[in-house]
């Protein structure tokens, strides 16, 4: 059974100090319902990606809460948590529910409120994605883990600090034109390199910001769409998902992301496409090094070649493999649980030909979403209608 995206929408990502998870998720849902003939009463299930609701807002049981707030109080509901891939995992579960025949219409949402607490507490909440005993309790922060990966990668492949910064420069440039993005201002390589140190070699502008936001995708079976004469936005061609050791110290390698490699291989096989077929991609650039590792895991570049994407302009919106035309996590923002669904929203716009950084003839699109420092990853491949 095939799965379609009936509609998809996001709130703006950024600081929403006077809002709350329930208001943000509802806002994204209203926007998504506005663009389809599906109504809340049609929803068989509501799946919500969320990472730190229990830590920041003291709110658990978010699946049922959000089902109620999107007008589907009687639907099956669950919150799905897999750190920063909570959104991507939510989308995969929604697709599987439809493909299994168990559901015809599923709302796959994601939401996160992060800006209402101070930076040490957000860093502490994000650290829940890592191994608490072997990493956090030793003083290793989440940016610190990516810093370990970055330094090792630079050592193995003779990469310059400025080559990492180029990813941030490109993604900030993309974000300028995206009305949903948190940062709409260009940055130079020098501004990135000279920004506040976080965990060497990573500085503030190598990192995604602290963000609030929500995204919603409404997925339907192709038979439901046909029976109801629905106009759909995109087709789900394939998904792939894999895991790895939670702690970086237990991984087979720290300068590559094996779980992402496995997820990509499964998604490509599932969708019957190869990396060469991808016209546009949204990848998980929580830090600049993460985008470089993603490009290699997805087979867009050979090992050690990933820096070329941003440095040579090949991954710019007008390059041969445009990556993060939304601005990515770095430019658009990273409300953790929403991000994986937000990627689907951006790619759906690309496939419909109405993205602010439109790629010409975008027919096949890929989303890559990572949990923690690579312990869980989803890859989703979409096709245009």
């Amino acid at each position: 059974m095939g799965t379609k995206i009936a509609s998809a929408a996001s709130t703006t990502y950024g600081k929403h100090p006077n809002s709350s998870s329930r208001e943000l998720l509802s806002e994204a849902a209203v926007k998504a319902f506005d663009e389809t003939d599906i109504s809340p009463g049609d929803l068989d299930a509501v799946y919500i990606g969320n990472f730190m609701g229990g830590l920041i807002e003291d709110q658990g049981h978010i699946g049922a809460l959000m089902a109620d707030h999107v007008g589907a109080r009687e639907a099956a509901s669950v919150r799905i948590e897999s750190a920063c891939v909570s959104g991507g995992a939510t989308f995969c579960q929604a697709v599987q529910a439809v493909e299994s025949g168990d559901a015809d219409v599923v709302l796959a949402g994601g939401v996160e409120m992060m800006s209402t607490t101070d930076i040490e507490h957000v860093t502490d909440a994000l650290a829940n994605a890592a191994d608490d005993v072997y990493e956090n309790e030793q003083g290793l922060t989440f940016p610190g883990i990516y810093a370990l990966m970055a330094r090792r990668y630079m050592h193995e492949f003779d990469v310059m600090r400025e080559d990492l910064a180029a990813v941030s420069v490109k993604n900030h440039r993309h974000a300028v034109d995206n009305p949903l993005a948190q940062f709409r201002k260009e940055l130079s390589v020098r501004e990135v390199v000279e920004s506040k140190p976080v965990a060497t070699p990573i500085t503030l502008y190598d990192a995604c910001p602290v963000s609030d936001g929500a995204s919603v995708a409404i997925v339907v079976s192709d038979t439901f769409a046909a029976d109801h004469g629905l106009e759909t936005s995109a087709e789900v061609l394939g998904t792939g998902q894999s895991s790895d050791a939670l702690a970086l110290q237990d991984r087979a390698a720290i300068s590559r992301t094996p779980a992402a490699e496995r997820a990509a291989e499964r998604a490509y096989e599932n969708a019957s496409v190869t990396a060469d077929d991808i016209d546009v991609a949204e990848v998980h650039d929580c830090f600049t090094i993460a985008e470089i590792l993603a490009l290699e895991a997805l087979s867009f570049y050979e090992r050690g070649e990933g820096t070329r994407g941003a440095v040579e302009g090949e991954t710019a919106a007008d390059g041969h493999i445009p990556v993060n035309t939304s601005g990515g996590l770095i430019g658009k923002g990273h409300p953790v649980g929403a991000t994986g669904i937000g990627q689907i929203v951006e790619l759906t716009k690309q496939l419909e030909g109405r993205h602010p950084n439109q790629v010409s003839e975008a027919e096949v699109a890929l989303a890559h979403n990572v949990g923690g420092s690579g312990a869980s990853t989803t890859v989703t491949i979409l096709g245009g209608e």
């Binding site: 502490d124 003083g139 922060t141 090792r152 965990a199």
Partner: protein, 126 residues
């Protein structure tokens, strides 16, 4: 901290640290595990773990979590010990300018906040 980690760091402090070796596939891993992450076997035995290792990577942390408030900057090292298992710990008696990937280090442990133990690394003398 969980009791298993206290036992692990107590053993480091007394110089008889252990790791787990899979009798089926030979994979080395750290406690506590009941199944081998490489092959799923439950035949894991404790073996002595060397105190010597090599730096895989390191980072100087400037923005930290509340537990380490006021202690920045400090340096975290990821080191691979001679048996092939890796550990994360804080650098002692040196600055990040003094060390490089591939340098030899020695494993240690020390109390933190009078309650939990930290894993530490010092540069090896030879």
């Amino acid at each position: 901290m969980p009791a298993w980690f206290d036992a692990f760091t107590d053993a480091i402090a007394s110089g008889d640290q252990q790791y787990l070796v899979c009798e089926t596939c030979g994979h080395g891993t750290l406690p506590p595990r009941q199944l081998c992450p490489a092959c799923g076997s439950t035949e894991l035995t404790q073996e002595p773990l060397s105190e010597r290792g090599e730096i895989l990577s390191f980072t100087e942390i400037s923005v930290t979590i509340p537990k380490f408030h006021g202690e920045t900057p400090y340096t975290v090292v990821l080191a691979e010990l001679d048996e092939g298992v890796s550990l994360t710990g804080q650098l002692r008696d040196a600055t990040p300018d003094d060390i490089a990937i591939g340098d030899k280090v020695v494993l240690g442990t020390e109390p933190h906040d009078n309650e939990t133990a930290l894993i530490t690394f010092q540069q090896a003398e030879d």
